[in-house]
């Protein structure tokens, strides 16, 4: 038999001014199962709490209802008191008599009546309450960082320097990402590789970081603090332990005509290759799709010339299982390529290039050693046209958003071109210049004022080639919409930033949500910008949306600090308000029919399909749902969906909600 204690608070005058608190206490005392009821000036005060603790002991209470302020205010306080009194803290409920009664109604019968109803309701609820215990989940203090671009590097270093283990997985043969391709960086014009490569080396040498290049995440299961991840180590065909990176293999490789990804297709590489001179690790891999040995079964030159016998054609992909407590997703971005722009030359004009290609042309380590020359004939262009918003803010092309970085890098490109060719002409067709950021607008103004780059407001309609020149048909909307035709030697399209091709499949492996452009979705656009709605998985860099380096780096550090927070204790404590599927012995007696509707609607992928097997024969007796308490956030959507009430939410059970409603109504108002 329940023995409930009811404690009605005056909150000074706040409640008692409009609610007849004595009456409420008296009425409460009459309720069945109520063993003790009292009203007091300040329940939350020390003496108030002491009263509760004493009462629990003295009257052997099995649960308490505190009629006071909003539970959002003092629930924690009174649950502690209940615990001190020796009962489970979840056997304490609050009746909100202040925010939702005394403060919103005038003193009247009706007001007091409402207060009584609410108390009665909570008394009913607390009778249905069961002991709950905070869920403790152990935390594996190793982080997985997916992607070895600047964002991934930053996150990995931050976490590793905080003394935690980090595993980094990069799909390319080297880390560095897009930043390693850049020439100089805005707004300071310092050399990208000069600031990046030291970080790359640091990652490779850090005692806390294990680096897997040429590898991809295969699957992710488990939950915050306890993820099980499978990683595929693609066969490099080169034994990394033996290889010294001497380079004699790729110098001799006969397949020399493979478009070089690192130089954005502006030069060629060999089939066995290291992507670029400062690559980390600086050891080659074999690109099997382009290797004669793997395609035609002959050649084998690299094997012959390798002085240490590191070449191994028999090597196979290897899948490794790792356990991590948190994941930082930093898979980066891609850009639209010029063939996306039929009206700008369909990628058929060699000298219409995209931003990354220009970076390579302008980079000292690039195919032209930093001299800006036309891909078609190697001439130095006298006139360059830069087209901003190429593909961005273009509903017709399916990309409505602004790519954010183009305004800045276009200004940078124009500037660099002018610095290298003082009497060259640079024109920028733009719609708006969006240069918010520290020293950003000053930078753009410098391009205009000091390097006299010509900015023309208007979109380019068409580009066609005529006698070795590119005719750019534009317009100056600031000059009475004057049509302009420029005969350029080279055109650079600031093409839109888009999500990686495989972004969607990555997201699905991780069970994180993504938008229609396949950028990964943050848990909250303002207040949780680096977390995903899957606990324990963070976002860093341009996989979330277009970002420049400073933004990517700061988000990476933010993600890292989230991970460190998670790793700050050996186990996480979580509210026990989670869903449970009813179970009894023997297991197949669960009422769950395994329709798994709950699994579909759960926004946290917290519900799993479980096969109940016969212990002896091992045959499947039944399929049922199982809640992963580590992932469940307690929204209860599954409960409302369950067709036969087999799943229920602790703290808000069907039984409780029903009795609340009945208790509310079975007395006249």
């Amino acid at each position: 038999m329940a023995r409930i204690g009811v404690f009605i608070c005056h909150c000074g005058e706040n409640i008692s001014a409009t609610v007849d608190v004595e009456k409420v206490a008296q009425e409460a005392a009459k309720l069945s199962g109520v063993a003790f009821a009292i009203d007091y000036k300040y329940m939350c005060s020390d003496p108030g709490q002491t009263q509760i603790i004493e009462a629990i002991k003295e009257h052997k209470l099995t649960g308490i209802v505190v009629g006071a302020c909003s539970p959002r205010m003092h629930e924690a306080t009174f649950r502690k008191a209940a615990e001190k009194g020796g009962i489970n803290p979840y056997l304490c409920e609050m009746a909100n008599l202040r925010e939702q009664v005394s403060w919103v109604h005038a003193r009247s019968e009706a007001t007091t009546a409402k207060a009584i109803d609410i108390v009665r309701m909570m008394v009913q609820k607390v009778k249905q309450d069961s002991k709950l215990f905070p869920i403790k989940v152990p935390v594996i203090k190793t982080a997985l960082v997916i992607g070895g671009g600047i964002a991934g590097i930053q996150a990995a270093l931050d976490i590793a320097n905080a003394g935690h283990k980090v595993i980094m997985v990069e799909k390319a043969p080297s880390i560095g990402g897009h930043m390693s391709q850049l020439s100089e960086t805005f707004p300071t014009l310092d050399c990208s590789q000069c600031i990046l490569t030291p970080r790359m080396v640091e990652v490779a040498q850090h005692p806390n970081i294990t680096l897997h290049t040429f590898a991809e995440v295969e699957s992710v299961s488990g939950y915050v603090g306890n993820f099980d991840v499978q990683v595929r180590l693609k066969a490099k065909s080169v034994d990394m332990k033996l290889c010294t990176g001497c380079g004699s293999c790729w110098q001799k490789c006969p397949n020399k005509k493979i478009p070089d990804e690192f130089n954005a297709g502006l030069s060629f590489r060999t089939a066995i290759y290291t992507p670029f001179p400062q690559a980390v690790p600086n050891k080659p891999v074999i690109d099997r799709a382009n290797c004669s040995w793997f395609q035609k079964g002959k050649c084998g030159v690299c094997k012959k010339v390798c002085p240490v016998g590191a070449i191994n054609y028999e090597m196979e992909d290897e899948i490794i299982d790792i356990k991590v407590g948190a994941i930082v997703t930093a898979t980066g971005f891609d850009i639209k390529h010029t063939d996306f722009f039929p009206e700008y030359g369909y990628g058929e004009f060699k000298d219409v290039i995209d931003g990354l290609q220009f970076e390579r042309l302008a980079s000292a380590s690039g195919p032209t050693n930093g001299e800006i020359r036309r891909p078609s004939d190697g001439k130095i262009p006298e006139k360059i046209v830069f087209v901003a918003c190429a593909g961005s803010r273009d509903k017709a092309k399916g990309i409505e958003y602004c790519s954010k970085i183009c305004c800045m890098y276009t200004a940078k490109h124009a500037m660099m071109y002018k610095h290298k060719n003082h009497d060259g002409e640079a024109y920028v067709f733009y719609m708006d210049v969006r240069s918010a950021g520290k020293n950003y607008d000053e930078f753009v103004r410098r391009a205009v004022e000091e390097d006299d780059v010509q900015y023309i407001r208007g979109r380019v309609s068409r580009i066609y080639e005529k006698n070795g020149k590119l005719i750019v048909k534009g317009v100056d909307t600031l000059m009475n919409a004057e049509p302009i035709e420029i005969e350029a030697d080279m055109v650079v399209l600031a093409t839109a930033v888009v999500a990686n091709q495989d972004a969607e499949s990555v997201a699905q492996k991780m069970h994180i949500s993504y938008d229609k452009h396949h950028f990964f979705a943050e848990a909250h656009p303002k207040l949780r910008p680096v977390e995903t709605n899957t606990a324990g998985i963070m976002l860093a860099g341009a996989c979330q949306t277009a970002k420049d380096i400073p933004d990517a780096v700061s988000q990476a550090s933010a993600a890292a600090s989230k991970v460190m927070g998670l790793f700050s204790s050996d186990e996480m404590t979580r509210e026990p308000v989670v869903a449970v599927v009813n179970r009894m012995m023997p297991p197949q007696f669960t009422t769950c029919t395994g329709c798994l509707l709950c699994m579909e609607v759960c926004p946290y992928h917290a519900i799993e399909r479980e096969e109940i097997l016969d212990r002896r024969t091992g045959e499947i007796l039944k399929v049922a749902a199982r809640v992963n308490a580590g992932l469940c956030q307690g929204c209860g959507t599954c409960v409302a969906f369950c067709r036969n009430k087999s799943i229920d939410l602790q703290g808000y059970t069907n039984q409780q909600m029903l009795s609340e409603v009945i208790a509310l109504l079975n007395k006249p108002f």
């Binding site: 039929p342 009206e343 369909y346 066609y464 080639e465 005529k466 006698n467 005719i471």
Partner: protein, 290 residues
């Protein structure tokens, strides 16, 4: 097999060689085209400029006739007519109120079950499969395939694969043994409906087109639109004044070129009806080596 055929006004007048050559090619390949009985004008640019309802109603009448005459496919060689017909059909199928209103105007039911074919679609569907056995000549010349506006735009009507740089006509010309050149004015406008009211504009626009074709060494220009043909052909004197130079590249209809490759005599293709002599184009032709 029988396919409906809508010549349109120009193909009965200034561009009759277009229908002449189309029919000749079709006949050669054993394809019968049945003209829609009592068809009327599509309204062209005048109708949609001055009266929107009319621009839908006029084509609607002919479309309804085609339906009543039990046609399921109608080939419309004239790019302009095709554009108007397709637009009218689209408007009626997409908006019930428009359909209702238009049916009221024309006093006929419209079901929208006739499929309209551009000249390309027709050639690809009915001529290509059998063409090779009839092609006996190699045109053996550099041709500039010119689409103009109405064959390329608007994209939802013309159904071209790459509206900015179409290749459909090139495919036909390669079959006919010509070498299509890559040029810049494929889909630029020739001045279209201004051929009489603003000859100056026609001269300017068509001039640019001819000039680019000439600069890139075209020996003939291939078109599939009567307006383009007459502007590029008929307006040479004005163009000459505009460019201050004489360009005498002949302008052939795609079906004429195809016809030549099939060994159909020039006069059956109406080749002598052009202002700019087509002799040069014809003279390049060589027998196709078996």
């Amino acid at each position: 097999m029988q396919i409906g055929f809508y010549p349109g006004c120009s193909l009965e007048g200034s561009s009759k060689e277009y229908s002449q050559s189309l029919l000749a090619v079709a006949e050669k390949c054993g394809v019968t085209l049945e003209e829609i009985k009592d068809w009327s004008c599509c309204g062209a640019s005048a109708a949609h400029s001055l009266n929107h309802d009319l621009s839908i109603a006029l084509p609607a009448r002919t479309l309804a006739l085609a339906e009543n005459q039990g046609m399921t496919e109608v080939v419309i060689p004239c790019a302009a007519c095709y554009g108007r017909m397709a637009a009218s059909q689209k408007a009626m199928l997409e908006d019930a109120s428009v359909l209702k209103k238009t049916q009221g105007f024309i006093d006929m039911k419209f079901l929208g079950n006739v499929q309209l074919l551009t000249v390309f679609e027709f050639l690809q569907k009915y001529i290509f499969p059998v063409a090779d056995q009839y092609i006996v000549n190699k045109l053996n010349q550099k041709t500039a395939c010119y689409y103009g506006c109405l064959l390329a735009r608007p994209k939802e009507l013309t159904k071209l694969e790459r509206p900015e740089n179409p290749m459909e006509m090139e495919a036909v010309m390669e079959k006919a043994g010509a070498t299509p050149i890559d040029w810049a004015f494929k889909t630029e406008c020739c001045g279209a409906g201004f051929s009489m009211s603003r000859t100056d504009i026609v001269a300017k626009l068509s001039g640019r087109i001819l000039e680019d074709a000439a600069d890139r060494g075209a020996e003939s220009i291939i078109v599939a639109c009567p307006m383009c043909q007459s502007n590029l052909d008929l307006r040479r004197p004005e163009i000459k004044k505009q460019l201050k130079k004489d360009i005498n590249i002949p302008v052939l209809f795609i079906t004429q070129a195809l016809g030549l490759s099939m060994g159909i005599p020039a006069k059956d293709l109406g080749l002598e009806n052009h202002f700019v002599s087509t002799g040069k184009a014809v003279s390049c032709i060589v027998k196709k080596e078996a």
